[in-house]
C-alpha cells in the first residue's frame, strides 16, 4: 500500500505534510466528521474529560519531578520545598493531588455510564476490557504516586498494600521482598515507585490510544443502546460534540479549581503531613477515598488470602462483565429491573466506601460483609439470571424515532422541527 496520500487540504503546508503523513486527514476523519450518535447526554462527556485529566496529570507530574527527590531522607522536605519555595510549586502540586481525585471521579462516572447504558456489550467487549486495563493502571499509578511524599500514610499505605502479595501461597514472601528491594519499605522501594510512577502514565496513554482506536471501529454506544441505522441518527463530531465536551470541560475545571484553590487538602489525610516513621503506625490507616470500596472488600473477609482474592476479584469480574450480562438489550432505559439494580450497585459502592473509611468494628463489619456479598451477587448471579427473566421494554426502531414521536427526551415542537428537516432531505 505504498504511495502518497491524496490530501484534500487546500493549505499548502498542511497539504504537503498530509500527503506524506495523513495525520490531518486522520484527525478530520476521527474527530472532525466522525459520525457520532446524535442523542448523547452529558454522561458522554466523561471520556473526553478523562483524557484531558490524564494530560493534566502528566504535565503537572513532569514539572513536579523537576523538583522532587526520591530519597527517604529528602522526599518529605523536597515536597515541602515545592510547596514553599518553587514558583507556583503549590499550584502544580495541588493540581496533581486533587487532579488525581478528579481523575477517579471522572473515570468512575465514565464506568457507571458504560454499565448503565450497556456499552460493554457486543461488539464493544474489547473496548470495555481495555477500559478495565486503564482502570487497573490508574490504580497502580495512583498508589505509587501516593507513596512519593513519604508521609505517614504514604509509608504505611505502601507497607499494607505491598504486604497484600504476601498472601500468595509459597512465593508470596519472596514477591514482597522483590517489590521492596529489601526487608521493609525503604529507600529502594521509594526509588523504584518513583521510576514506575513516572513510566505508567505513558503506558496509560498508549492504552487510552487503543481504547479510542477500538471505539472508532465500533462507533459509540448511545443512551438508547440501539445501533446507528441511518445518517439521520448521527452528527459530525465537530462542532456538535466538541462544543458539548467543552461545556463539560469548563464545569470540570471549575470543580477542580474549587478544590485546588479553596480546599486543597480536603480529600487528603492529615497524617500525611507527618514524615514517614517506620517505627510507628498511625492510629488509622486509610487509603485515599477512591480506593475505599476496595479496601472495604479486603477487610470484610476474615481470611488473608480470601480478602486479597476478593479485592482483586472485584476488578477481575469487570473483565468478564460482557459475558456475565446475558441480556440482548443494552440500555437500562429499556430494562426496568436492571435499572434498579444499577442504582442499588451505586448505593452498595457508596456503602463500601463508608465502610472503608471506618474502623472495622460493630455495625461496619456487618455492612461491609453485606455490601461485599451484594457486589459479587450483582455481577455473578443477578446479571446472568436477569438476561433470562427480565421483561424488557420495546426498543425504538431508530435513534431518530423517539424524537419523531416526541417521546423520550424531546417535546412535540422538536418533533415537528425534525419532521421538517426530514422532508428537506
Amino acid at each position: 500500500m505504498a504511495g502518497l496520500h491524496n490530501s484534500e487540504f487546500s493549505n499548502p503546508v498542511i497539504n504537503w505534510i498530509d500527503t506524506r503523513l495523513p495525520i490531518f486527514t486522520m484527525m478530520q476523519k476521527e474527530y472532525g466528521s466522525f459520525p457520532t450518535p446524535k442523542n448523547f447526554n452529558y454522561f458522554w462527556n466523561f471520556g473526553a474529560l478523562a483524557t484531558v485529566n490524564l494530560l493534566l496529570m502528566i504535565a503537572t507530574g513532569v514539572f513536579l519531578a523537576m523538583n522532587y527527590t526520591p530519597n527517604t531522607s529528602m522526599a518529605f522536605e523536597s515536597v515541602q520545598r515545592i510547596m514553599r519555595d518553587v514558583n507556583y510549586g503549590w499550584l502544580l502540586r495541588y493540581l496533581h493531588s486533587n487532579g488525581a481525585s478528579m481523575f477517579f471521579i471522572v473515570v468512575y462516572i465514565h464506568i457507571f455510564r458504560g454499565m448503565y447504558y450497556g456499552s460493554y456489550k457486543k461488539p464493544r467487549e474489547l473496548l470495555w476490557i481495555l477500559g478495565v486495563v486503564i482502570l487497573l493502571l490508574m490504580m497502580a499509578t495512583a498508589f505509587m504516586g501516593y507513596v512519593l511524599p513519604w508521609g505517614q500514610m504514604s509509608y504505611w499505605g505502601a507497607t499494607v498494600i505491598t504486604n497484600l502479595f504476601s498472601a500468595i501461597p509459597l512465593v508470596g514472601d519472596s514477591i514482597v521482598t522483590l517489590l521492596w528491594g529489601g526487608f521493609s519499605v525503604d529507600n529502594p522501594t521509594l526509588n523504584r515507585f518513583f521510576s514506575l510512577h513516572y513510566l505508567m502514565p505513558f503506558v496509560l496513554i498508549a492504552v487510552v490510544f487503543l481504547h479510542v482506536a477500538a471505539l472508532h471501529i465500533t462507533g459509540s454506544n448511545n443512551p438508547l443502546g440501539i445501533d446507528v441505522k441511518t445518517p439521520q441518527d448521527t452528527l459530525p463530531f465537530h462542532p456538535y460534540y466538541t462544543a458539548k465536551d467543552s461545556v463539560g470541560m469548563c464545569v470540570w475545571a471549575m470543580v477542580l479549581a474549587a478544590l485546588v484553590f479553596f480546599a486543597p487538602n480536603f480529600l487528603g489525610d492529615p497524617a500525611n503531613f507527618i514524615p514517614a516513621n517506620p517505627l510507628q503506625t498511625p492510629a488509622e490507616i486509610v487509603p485515599e477515598w477512591y480506593f475505599l470500596p476496595f479496601y472495604a472488600i479486603l477487610r470484610s473477609v476474615p481470611d488473608k488470602l480470601g480478602g486479597v482474592s476478593m479485592m482483586f476479584g472485584s476488578i477481575i469480574v469487570l473483565f468478564i462483565l460482557p459475558w456475565l450480562d446475558t441480556s440482548p438489550v443494552r440500555s437500562a432505559r429499556f430494562r426496568p429491573i436492571y435499572r434498579v439494580l444499577m442504582w442499588v450497585l451505586v448505593i452498595d459502592l457508596l456503602a463500601l466506601g463508608a465502610v472503608g473509611a471506618h474502623r472495622p468494628e460493630g455495625i461496619w463489619v456487618v455492612i461491609g460483609r453485606a455490601s461485599t456479598a451484594w457486589y459479587f451477587l450483582h455481577f455473578l448471579v443477578l446479571l446472568p439470571l436477569l438476561g433470562k427473566f427480565e421483561k424488557t421494554l420495546p426498543l425504538p426502531d431508530s435513534i431518530s424515532q423517539p424524537v419523531l414521536k416526541g417521546g423520550i427526551g424531546g417535546g412535540p415542537l422538536a418533533g415537528a422541527a425534525a419532521a421538517q428537516s426530514m422532508e428537506k432531505n
Binding site: Y94, Y108, V247, C250, F262, P270, G410
Partner: protein, 255 residues
C-alpha cells in the same frame, strides 16, 4: 433521565466528600473559633501572626522545631528585611568547616531555616521525658480539626476528672485524643509581654500562635485564594459562553 443524571453527578461528587466528613467525627466536637484566615477570602491577621511568632519564639521553640521554615519566610506576615535579618542574627548556626577544616559557627541569616532546639530527635526525646515534641512546620495540617484543634488543645488543660488515673508525667487535656498529653500546659496568662500592648491572656496567646502556625503550614494560602477567586470567575464566564455556543451549535438539531 436528565434530573436523575444530575442527581447522580451531584451524588458522586458528594460521595467522596462524605468520607473525610465521616472521619472528622471527633473533630466535630471541637469548639470552633473565628479565624482571620478562614473562608474563601480569608487572610492572615498580620499583627496576630507576628504576636504568634513571639509566642513561638519565647515559648514553643524551647522544645518544638520548625525545620521547614526559613527566617526569610517571615516576610509573609509583614516583617521587613531589617527585622528578619535581626531575628535571624539572634541564633548561632553551623557555618560548615573553615579553611583549616575546623567546624565553626556563624550568626543566622535570613536564608537559614529556623534553628531547632535539639540536635536530633533522640536528644529531644531525652530532654522531654521520652516524648518527641513534633516539628511545627506543618503541624496544623497534620492534625484533624486544624486550627480549632490547636487552639482548643492549648486552652484545654484542666484538672483530671475524679477517678481518672494519670500516667507518670502526663497532663490532662480536654481535647487531646485520650486526654493524656506529655506536654505540660505551655501557655498561661502573661506568659509573654506583647510589645504592641495587647493583653496577653491565655486565649489571646493561643489565638496568636495558632494564626502563626496556620501561616507557616500554608504560607501560600493568601496567593492561592486570590488566584482562586480570579480562576473561578473566569471559568464561570467561560462556562456560560461555552454553553451558549453549544446551544447555538445544537439549535438546528432535533434531539
Amino acid at each position: 433521565m436528565r434530573p436523575v443524571a444530575l442527581a447522580l453527578f451531584a451524588g458522586l461528587l458528594a460521595g467522596p466528600a462524605l468520607v473525610p466528613a465521616a472521619f472528622a467525627q471527633d473533630a466535630a466536637d471541637l469548639p470552633k473559633q473565628n479565624w482571620s484566615f478562614a473562608g474563601p477570602f480569608g487572610t492572615y491577621d498580620r499583627a496576630s501572626a507576628q504576636r504568634g511568632f513571639q509566642v513561638y519564639k519565647e515559648v514553643c521553640s524551647a522544645c518544638h522545631s520548625m525545620k521547614l521554615v526559613h527566617y526569610r519566610d517571615l516576610s509573609g506576615i509583614g516583617f521587613d528585611a531589617k527585622q528578619i535579618a535581626a531575628i535571624a542574627a539572634t541564633v548561632e548556626v553551623s557555618g560548615g568547616v573553615n579553611d583549616d577544616g575546623e567546624p565553626f559557627n556563624r550568626p543566622g541569616l535570613p536564608s537559614d531555616m529556623f534553628k531547632s532546639p535539639f540536635a536530633n530527635d533522640n536528644a529531644a526525646r531525652a530532654a522531654n521525658n521520652g516524648a518527641l515534641p513534633p516539628d511545627q512546620s506543618v503541624l496544623l495540617n497534620a492534625r484533624e480539626g486544624g486550627a480549632d484543634y490547636i487552639y482548643d488543645l492549648l486552652t484545654g488543660y484542666a484538672d483530671p476528672p475524679a477517678g481518672m488515673t494519670m500516667g507518670d508525667g502526663m497532663n490532662y487535656n480536654k481535647y487531646f485524643p485520650g486526654h493524656q498529653i506529655a506536654m505540660g500546659q505551655p501557655l498561661h496568662d502573661d506568659q509573654v509581654v506583647y510589645s504592641d500592648g495587647t493583653k496577653a491572656t491565655i486565649e489571646q496567646e493561643a489565638r496568636d500562635v495558632t494564626t502563626f502556625l496556620a501561616f507557616v503550614a500554608n504560607p501560600e494560602m493568601e496567593e492561592r485564594k486570590r488566584l482562586g477567586a480570579k480562576a473561578i470567575i473566569f471559568l464561570a464566564l467561560l462556562t456560560g459562553v461555552t454553553y451558549a455556543v453549544k446551544r447555538r451549535v445544537w439549535a438546528d438539531v432535533d434531539h
